[in-house]
């Protein structure tokens, strides 16, 4: 089931009413309702893959206990490896098997050897597998590190793994943050529920009005890039930047908002990344739950930056490459990771990767307007170039795209594939950017106006724009991050 489908808008009020009517002050009943709803939510897409979630839940629940009970370090490690092998194996099998086989064949062909009769699976990627496997894995890792005690409550654990608001596309929650909230009795708070509804509205607007309406043009440009002028390819890259941001952050907003309706707080996943003044700042603001996951469970255990320079550089490359590969079984994603590692390295060597911890404020002084404005623009352009690798089907395709864009400059007007007025989209994006700048200090409160009249006007305007840009032809377009 998709957040942007009408089924969800029927499903959610029903679950909400059941949850607060039958589960008031009863944590067990609340979790039973949440668990069943989560399985229905997931099963609506494909019920067969529910078995994977249930299996993952069972394995990590018992592995977590075994790790905790083991008094000897070697046994703890053994049990941890069971969890790692199972979860990464699951991910590897469903997501990377064909990729590795194809890459193996391609590398042999490169050296002139022909490999035939290769066995690939062509299996469908279960939605959200990259998200929930990382979530369950973090549970075992935290217990192994002594930062978490395993739960005795299987129902709560199963609910934590499959909690429907963030099941298929995150934020990737840590057990230490989400599990205690699931275990305790959840109480409805008016202010929390209202915050949730506001976030849902804003997320839906980003997804439906912006991401989906740009998607058609992005698809068109990235398919026909070889015959389009460079100005159009620049537009394609720009539109994709907004598409992917609004698609994914829109999903996260709806997820966080939905969780709030059930008295649960999820972590923030995006903090206005396009207002970053450096690549390091961009990564502190983009897909935060994944970046911090890799930081805590990969980068720091490898030694992070507290090792000698060559090892620190190695660690930076590892974390960016793995992060790229996490996004998909394609060399384009690996290269995207490598590209960001190369952009990050100079900041690391100059020791400015921890600068810009505060929010940008362009209009506080002329210096800020010029200097920070330039930094923001440069970072945005670098990110745009990176998105070409991310969106292209092949690595050679992405290089050709960039070559046409920068080295064979030509100008041409672009027409919408369905003939829609292009100016509508430029105006929409301009107002969106201005509004995002206005709300940039608090990603969890997109309608932070004191006057209730202004708030009401903004809600109505958002719904109106949502209707104006809703496209029936793209009805129920899936979220980009579902494929990861």
């Amino acid at each position: 089931m998709l957040f942007n489908s009408l089924e969800f808008f029927v499903f959610l009020p029903i679950v909400f009413m059941l949850f607060w009517f039958f589960g008031k002050n009863k944590p067990k009943a609340q979790n039973v309702i949440l668990l069943i709803s989560s399985y229905v939510f997931y099963g609506w897409w494909d019920y067969r893959f529910l078995s994977l979630i249930i299996l993952s839940t069972l394995v990590d629940f018992y592995v977590g206990k075994a790790i905790f009970k083991s008094s000897v370090s070697i046994n703890k490690n053994k049990w941890l490896w069971v969890s790692i092998v199972f979860n990464i194996g699951l991910l590897g099998f469903f997501k990377y098997f064909d990729f590795f086989v194809d890459s193996f064949v391609a590398s042999f062909s490169f050296f002139g050897a022909e490999v035939t009769n290769v066995w690939t699976l062509n299996i469908i990627l279960p939605v959200g597998i990259s998200f929930y496997t990382f979530q369950t894995l973090s549970y075992s890792l935290d217990i192994h590190r002594g930062e978490l005690k395993p739960t005795e409550d299987f129902l709560a654990f199963a609910t934590y793994v499959s909690f429907f608001p963030q099941l298929v596309a995150g934020p990737i929650e840590r057990a230490s943050h989400l599990l205690p909230q699931i275990e305790k009795v959840k109480k409805i708070r008016y202010s929390q529920a209202v915050e949730g509804l506001k976030l849902m509205l804003w997320g839906l607007f980003k997804k439906v009005a912006i991401a989906d309406s740009l998607a058609l043009m992005v698809d068109d440009i990235f398919v026909n890039y070889e015959v389009l002028p460079s100005s159009t390819l620049m537009l394609g890259s720009l539109f994709f930047a907004f598409q992917i941001y609004c698609d994914f952050s829109g999903y996260s907003d709806i997820a966080i908002g939905t969780a709030k309706l059930f008295g649960v707080e999820l972590m923030s996943n995006f903090k206005f990344p396009y207002f970053s003044r450096s690549i390091a700042e961009f990564w502190r603001r983009w897909h935060i739950s994944l970046s911090t996951w890799f930081r805590d469970y990969l980068y720091i255990p490898l030694g992070g930056s507290r090792v000698n320079k060559p090892k620190a550089v190695r660690n930076i490359f590892i974390i960016f490459l793995v992060s790229g590969l996490w996004h998909g079984a394609n060399w384009t994603f690996v290269f995207w990771g490598l590209y960001h590692a190369l952009l990050f390295l100079p900041l690391f060597f100059l020791k400015i990767n921890r600068s810009h911890l505060e929010n940008v404020d362009l209009f506080s002084s002329t210096r800020n307007l010029f200097w920070e404005g330039m930094q923001m623009l440069l970072t945005f352009i670098l990110v745009l170039i990176g998105w070409v690798f991310f969106r292209s089907e092949t690595l050679t395709g992405s290089f050709t795209y960039l070559k046409i864009m920068f080295l064979e400059f030509s100008w041409g007007t672009y027409e919408h594939p369905l003939g829609y007025r292009m100016i509508d989209y430029f105006i929409l994006l301009l107002f969106f950017l201005i509004y995002e700048y206005r709300i940039r200090k608090d990603e969890r409160n997109p309608f932070n106006f004191k006057s209730k009249y202004v708030r009401f006007t903004m809600y109505t305007l958002t719904v109106f724009l949502l209707l104006l840009f809703y496209d029936d032809a793209l009805n129920n377009r899936s979220f980009v991050y579902f494929q990861f």
């Binding site: 489908s5 009408l6 089924e7 029927v10 607060w20 229905v40 099963g43 609506w44 019920y47 409805i188 008016y190 529920a193 209202v194 509804l197 369905l418 003939g419 829609y420 007025r421 509508d424 009401f456 809600y459 109505t460 719904v463 109106f464 209707l467 104006l468 840009f469 809703y470 496209d471 029936d472 032809a473 009805n475 129920n476």
Partner: protein, 322 residues
Amino acid sequence: MKKLLVKIIIYGFLMALVLEILVRVFHLYFEYPIVTLNEKNVVNYVPGQSGSFVVGNRRMHSSYYHINESGFNSFREFTPSAQNFEVALIGDSFVEGLHQDYNNSIGKKIENNFNGELAVYEYGFSGNDLADQLHLIHQLKEKMKLIDIIYVYLKFDEDLKRSSYTVHTRANLENSLAFKVRREIKLLSYLKGIGLIEPLTKIPSELKRFVKVGLKTANTDQTEGESKDNEYITNLDALLNTYSVDKQKTVFLIHQDNTSQAFLEYCEVKGYRYVDFGKPMEQSDKSTIIKYDVLKHWNDHGRDLVAKVISEDIDKYMDEIK
């Protein structure tokens, strides 16, 4: 909880009110003329209505319509006579042409192709299938007798789902409370127009699918396709037996892409005529459909092509009867 629900209801109501005003001010809603069941027991529009028909979320396309005294959207009145050469176009929304300026319809284009030497009467009504169309011909048989050639637009995969005529549901719906409410609340018309209401109606079937989890295989689809063809041909046969048409002057207007081979064979065997406009549409390097229109009605160029195909067929027919 109570406070939350009350506030959601109040805010929802106020927002709907403001949106209703915005939709009215910018005339974003799409609306059909009022439907009626006339004295000939034919479902069409109340005569004398005129207005503009809007397509697209942001009023990207709008056109004027005019309902003539016979209750159809047309630039002319339908007054067939034995002296003049007259053509009838019978069909659904594609012939009705609310998506185009009524002065630039297929009929007008055909008349222009013949420099006004003939008159074209467009009996189009949205949603009409073959049962509706044959019923219409039957009910207006006095007029049809005077008309020289009749083109019946047939979409094989959509228009042959029933074997007998019953009164068009829109005629009953028009008098229902739900329809009246929708006509008065422009926001609802708008939501329906942009396709937000339809998915709601599909939820029960989706729920059924989820409960049953009946997955169909490709093989059953193919068998289903063949049995659908048989069913449609049986319906066609039943309808043509009930409402016999003049084979000499009745021509089915088809697009071969959505027409089964079974239909073409049926026409060969039974001696019915058909004319295909699919080829020129496919060969056209310009778009033939209206932008923003979910139902993909023909645009000006598409109507040009259809008018040309019909005109060529009329030419041939005129030569034959000379």
